[in-house]
């Protein structure tokens, strides 16, 4: 039984990260109808920047914060220079553009940091916590805890602040939002910045546990996308739960099944969910997903 809880905690840790990436994807998708395939690369950028700044001599907390800000900045720039000029391009063109941005980020990271693997020190030491037969690394608690904090902040932002509400309005009906005097372009810009921040938060949180390297973004972005679609591609809560489900499923697969096929879970899950529950695990059964 302790084995099960061990896998569970590992799964929840990784799942939180998938959830955060998925959250960024949903945020952008709701406001701009763009699926951002560069989301994983924004995460990579956050982690790598933090590593670089730390080795440049910045104290850990500042390096972490700067890494997160770097992700946010990259998100803003991405919108300003690629998504906004694309205007009303079709979904396919937008997918290609975001993939292009991902490649640019990856290429820039390769140039700056090479292709080696990097990691951050853990935030609060390496002493494991033992609970029964389960060992928990403190960083896991950081990841899960910070994810919860981010969620609470986001909920506060969307429910209480004017900007948050304007973003929600933009997501629900862009034309109506424009008529209400909302600068929807600005709101889309903000969501890209937020998505960059979220991605980078996931990046710096996970960097002490999982190594980060310049090419890590693509697969992480795909997993985040899977998390988002599991949750129905539209709901924040759905994306987070989707991420947790994916993380736990992967961890169980690696533990009880074959670790070679750990990654296959994500894709198998996605094909099955899309076919049998096209509205995500929280939606009802229905025919086509439009």
């Amino acid at each position: 039984m302790s084995e099960f809880f061990q896998y569970l905690i590992t799964g929840l840790t990784i799942g939180s990260m998938y959830g955060l990436i998925g959250l960024g994807i949903v945020l952008v998708h709701n406001a701009s109808q763009v699926v951002n395939f560069a989301q994983g690369d924004l995460q990579m950028l956050g982690g790598m920047s933090a590593v670089a700044l730390l080795s440049a001599g910045l104290p850990l907390p500042f390096a972490l914060m700067a890494g997160v800000l770097a992700g946010g900045l990259a998100g803003l720039l991405m919108f300003k220079f690629t998504i906004e000029p694309a205007g009303e391009a079709g979904p396919l063109a937008l997918v290609i553009i975001t993939l292009g941005v991902g490649l640019v980020l990856r290429g820039a990271a390769e140039l700056t940091w090479g292709q080696s693997f990097y990691s951050l020190p853990t935030f609060s030491g390496n002493e494991v916590i033992r609970l029964g037969g389960v060992t928990i690394v403190p960083q896991s608690l950081w990841v899960i805890g910070m994810t919860a904090v981010v969620l609470i902040l986001l909920a506060y932002f969307f429910n209480r602040s004017l900007t948050g509400k304007a973003i929600l309005a933009t997501s629900l009906d862009r034309d109506a939002a424009v008529l209400m005097g909302i600068n929807t372009g600005r709101m889309q810009l903000v969501t890209f910045g937020l998505a960059g921040l979220l991605g980078a938060v996931a990046g710096v949180l996970i960097a002490p546990i999982a190594f980060t390297h310049s090419a890590a973004g693509l697969i992480l972005g795909l997993k985040g996308f899977v998390a988002a679609v599991l949750g129905g591609l539209g709901s924040f809560r759905g994306a987070l739960v989707g991420g947790l489900v994916l993380g736990v499923a992967e961890s169980m697969m690696a533990g009880y099944g074959s670790s070679d096929y750990k990654d296959a879970i994500a894709y198998l899950l996605i094909v099955l969910i899309l076919i049998f529950m096209p509205r995500g695990i929280f939606g009802g059964m229905s025919g086509e997903r439009v």
Partner: protein, 340 residues
């Protein structure tokens, strides 16, 4: 009449411009015969060796030819039926691995292994196509992506069969008693395949099935209401494009003599999609053009090797921002402006 004039009249271009009721219809009607386009391509392919002066050039030409043929098959799906696939490389890899495994591990004759793998990939596409093609837009993209990634993972993990991440060797193809090892021989083989597939797809595009397919680009309810069996047509073109991709994958394996799971990976699928998009969605000529650009670009970029990923990404963004219709329509417009 100049060649560009002929190209302009080609049926491939007329498709998108529905309002293109040409006054010179008499000339246009003759040139609308796909045969003319096929002949032009055949002449180009025969003349190209004049410009190829080393084995390496032939090698590049073979790669472009193989990719162009795969791109044409994907273009049938994306350009005419309007269905995106981010897992097309999976079918290329199925063909490649099927050919290599059946011939080296089970001793099948190479041509039989090649054809069986193509048919096998077609069966896979036919079986999984039905549920996956119910999806639309991003969901279809993700569903096909999942399919491709599963194929990739199986190829990299079933080491006993596929050699795993290290890849496996493929046999040499013998054709008419000739061991095909020289890129020059391969050039002609691939050229024949390219022209055949080009001819087939231009015919298909103009056949009733092709017109039914183009109807799928618009609202499906409209296509359905005029009596087009939408799911069946989608499935048919999905299967067909998988068969062609697998066949060319098999040829690729036999040509390269060595294959690895990276054939099925996501980046390869993306490259194939880019060939179609860069050339111009729904243009068979564009697919060839796009395949040439995407295949040759890394060769050019090796000069700035460490910048390769960066530059590749910038080019993608640039093409989508400044030539969203792709190269072929943009070049066509450019040419018309010069002529005026």
């Amino acid at each position: 009449m100049s060649k560009s004039e002929v190209k302009q009249k080609s049926p491939l271009i007329e498709i998108s411009g529905g309002a293109n009721k040409d006054k010179r219809a008499t000339v246009g009607q003759i040139l609308r015969w796909p045969v003319t386009n096929v002949a032009i391509l055949a002449v180009l392919v025969v003349c190209l060796p004049l410009a190829l002066n080393s084995g390496f050039h032939y090698h590049l030409a073979v790669l472009v030819g193989i990719n162009a043929t795969i791109a044409i098959s994907l273009n049938l799906l994306m350009g005419y039926a309007g269905q995106v696939s981010l897992g097309h490389a999976g079918f290329v890899a199925l063909g490649a691995y099927g050919t290599a495994i059946l011939s080296t591990r089970y001793g099948w004759p190479v041509p039989l292994a090649l054809l069986s793998s193509a048919v096998g990939a077609g069966l896979v596409a036919f079986v999984v196509g039905r549920p996956i093609l119910r999806l639309k837009g991003y969901y279809l993209a993700l569903g096909t992506l999942g399919l491709g990634m599963i194929i990739y993972l199986v190829l990299s993990n079933e080491v006993w069969l596929t050699g795993g991440p290290d890849g496996m060797a493929a046999p040499v193809l013998e054709l008419f008693g000739n061991r095909m090892t020289d890129p020059k021989d391969w050039y002609w083989l691939v050229a024949v395949m390219l022209v055949l597939v080009f001819w087939m797809s231009t015919n298909l595009v103009n056949a009733p099935l092709g017109r039914a397919l183009r109807a799928l680009e618009g609202p499906e309810a409209v296509a359905g209401s005029v009596g087009i069996n939408v799911p069946w047509n989608k499935l048919l073109v999905f299967t067909l494009s998988a068969v062609i991709a697998a066949l060319m994958g098999g040829f690729l394996a036999l040509y390269a003599g060595f294959i690895s799971p990276s054939l099925a990976d996501f980046m390869h699928s993306i490259e194939l999609v880019l060939m179609v998009l860069i050339g111009g969605l729904g243009s068979v000529v564009g697919a060839i053009l796009g395949a040439a650009v995407i295949t040759l670009l890394p060769q050019v970029l090796t000069v700035v090797e460490e910048y390769e990923t960066l530059v590749f990404g910038l080019i993608l963004i640039g093409v989508m921002l400044f030539m969203p219709q792709g190269l072929q329509p943009s070049l066509k417009k450019f040419w018309q402006r010069i002529k005026q």
